[in-house]
Amino acid sequence: MYKMTATILFAVFAVAFCNPEEEAGPRLLVSKQILNRYLVENKDIEVKYTLYNVGTAAAVGVQLVDNGFHPEAFDVVGGHLSARFDRISPQSNVSHVVVVRPKRYGYFNFTSAEATYKSSDSSVVQVSLSSEPGEGGIIAFRDYDKKFSSHSWDWLAFTLMTTPSLAIPLALWYSSKTKYEKLVKPTKKAH
């Protein structure tokens, strides 16, 4: 009875204390952020990936890949959608930025990127998925332009079109007014 109890207790403690061995080693947390405030058709979108090693050992052979930007929908205009880091030390982080340009407007689901890495003393490949920015609306360029463009040339054209309607009547009235006011003035000066 006592032997059985002792054996069971020993087994429980053995399981409990074997966990720290699994926690030792590299552990990457990956964040994927869209840095833009506005997502606009045919205008650049900056995507920042930050890899945090919260583990106790260095992560080696880190490969970051983002398959979420299909070439039919996006052009890559800066950086690459895959990146490689030879080593990320424990309790440190690295970042990677990609600039993409959407070809169409509409709602788009920004999915996770994938990071694969190994520990220096192990050949087991670990996989970590980044955070998911979620659904974002890419607005049409004309709507963005309507909101933010200064329309300087349009206002200038409008001013030119309205000037004759204002300047001509004013000039005609003013010329008549000054002509007849001059006729009255000499008498007033004499007084």
């Binding site: 004309r142 309507k146 329309h151 349009d154 054209a157 409008f158 079109m161 309205t162 309607s165 204002l166 009547p169 004013l170 005609l172 009235w173 008549s176 007014k177 007849y180 006011e181 006729l183 009255v184 008498t187």
Partner: protein, 183 residues
């Protein structure tokens, strides 16, 4: 007296009738409607380029609203001119009298009555001209200013067709209403 009654009104009476009548000549009417059409149509450019209104789908709306605004604006021109004419006639009376008296003083053959009639006619003409031009300028400036304020500050959240209809229609209506005031 009987002879003039048989012939109709004297020149003086005709001028007085014209003075107190709101009717405008055909030439003035054409001028008013022409100006009103141009000024009512010009804001379409702003709505197309800045508010991005659809041109082809809103064509009928443009025609209807521009027609209504043209009529109301022409009405505003007419009423404002009538109000201004009397004020301007009073101001220009002395200057016109002096100017014409100087020119006609050398003509000994002309009677005093004829000279007075000419002065009255000239005074009416000058007042008519200045009132017409000032009325057109005043109403145009007010129309364009209020349309811009309405469409960019009061109604930008509405759809472009609604924005256009209310801005142009309400402004033209407001000007027509204001012009009926006695001041």
């Amino acid at each position: 007296m009987s002879k003039s009654q048989n012939k109709g009104f004297t020149k003086e009476e005709e001028l007085l009738l014209q003075d107190f009548s709101r009717n405008v000549s055909t030439k003035s009417s054409a001028l008013f409607y022409g100006n009103a059409l141009i000024v009512s149509a010009v804001p379409i450019w702003l709505f197309w380029r800045i508010h991005l209104i659809e041109i082809y789908s809103s064509l009928i709306l443009f025609v209807v609203v521009t027609s209504i605004a043209t009529y109301l604006l022409a009405l505003a021109y007419k009423n404002t001119k009538f109000t201004l004419k009397h004020k301007i006639a009073v101001k220009r009376e002395e200057a016109v009298t002096r100017d014409l008296s100087k020119k006609l003083s050398e003509d000994k053959k002309m009677s005093k009555k004829e000279k007075d009639e000419r002065i009255l006619w000239k005074k009416n003409e000058v007042a008519d001209f200045e009132a017409t031009t000032l009325s057109i300028f005043y109403n145009n400036a007010l129309f364009l200013t209020i349309v811009i304020i309405c469409s960019f500050y009061l109604l930008p959240t509405f759809t472009p067709p609604v924005n256009y209809t209310v801005s142009i229609g309400a402004t033209a209506g407001l000007l027509a209403l204001l012009s009926t005031g006695s001041q």
